[in-house]
Symmetry: C2
């Protein structure tokens, strides 16, 4: 594992996605690995941490999640702009070498079967909480976060440090048509008011 990667306490895992970044979803089943981008991923609970992610019926990833019961949500960086767009706009169903063409490098973490995407700033390993009605009606999947890690150059001590890190480590926030925004400057509200 990259020397910059360190575990994040589960009670602070929600902070990895609280600012609404576009994420990558990785999943694996029966020897097939896949990664897709998802703009529609959101924290759902603090403890135990849970999250929601919308996974369309047309994706290859969906069956991997349903069949394995696991997936990883990871936060891609500005340096991964094109990779994020590419894994979000191509399907493994039409392009069997999609991951290779997009430049996706996978790595493993001991104790987890799902592969993780290298170069991201944060990773949340999730166990699917099966909810057939949500999955079938809304394409909405709920996961319990069972492990979390960050690149300590940009998230450490339970906080993002985008303002001190390389802009290349910023998070991506997708709109449409290949147009993203990077996360911007830090702002502090008065909490004693």
């Amino acid at each position: 594992m990259d020397k910059h990667i360190a575990p994040v306490a589960l009670e602070k895992a929600y902070r990895l996605i609280n600012h609404g970044p576009t994420v990558l979803v990785s999943a694996s089943h029966a020897g097939v690995n896949n990664v897709m981008a998802a703009a529609w991923c959101c924290a759902l609970d603090f403890a135990p941490p849970k999250l929601t992610v919308v996974i369309d019926k047309a994706t290859r990833t969906r069956a991997l999640v349903e069949n394995s019961g696991h997936f990883v949500i990871q936060v891609p960086t500005v340096a991964q702009l094109q990779l994020t767009h590419d894994v979000g706009s191509k399907s493994l169903l039409q392009e069997p070498n999609k991951l290779e063409r997009a430049g996706v490098e996978l790595f493993q973490i001991d104790g987890y079967e799902t592969p993780f995407v290298a170069g991201c700033s944060a990773w949340l390993a999730c166990r699917l909480i099966p909810e057939a009605h949500n999955q079938n009606t809304y394409d909405l999947f709920i996961g319990e976060v069972v492990g979390a890690w960050s690149d300590t150059r940009v998230f450490r001590d339970g906080h993002w440090h985008f303002e001190d890190a390389s802009p290349e480590l910023g998070s991506l926030h997708y709109i449409a048509g290949g147009n993203f925004y990077a996360i911007g400057k830090a702002l502090q509200a008065d909490t004693d008011k």
Copy 2:
């Protein structure tokens, strides 16, 4: 209605929240108006547009949403940093003059009973799609977007224009402890690749 506010086509309404901003939820029932902040709001579908929002059982807003069947999601701006924090950290249950103290100004749009929060950059009027299991188990509410509007100084022609607008009109992305990030610079992926 403010001269800068214009309707957004429903098929593009998802773009108003696709970049994961922290939002304000307004609701009204039996003469009680309230506004809360929510970091956990996410698009769910394109057409008809739907979204999810997590509304804790401890909030006053929750009963207003459940009893009226309607709510408005709005995207607050950098200029509303303190307002957003204040309506997210105080409850109308403990502080009856919460909205006044936070400086919230409400306005109406013809045909909608729920009040809208002035000064935001986008508004999505929603009809609750009742899902008792999600609401009771996960505090997860699903809304169908039935009307959408934007401040045309920052969202027009179906696109955000944060890069050309005043930084005060940027969206807010909450982490924890009063710490937010503003949305940052625009990035364009190669869509022909």
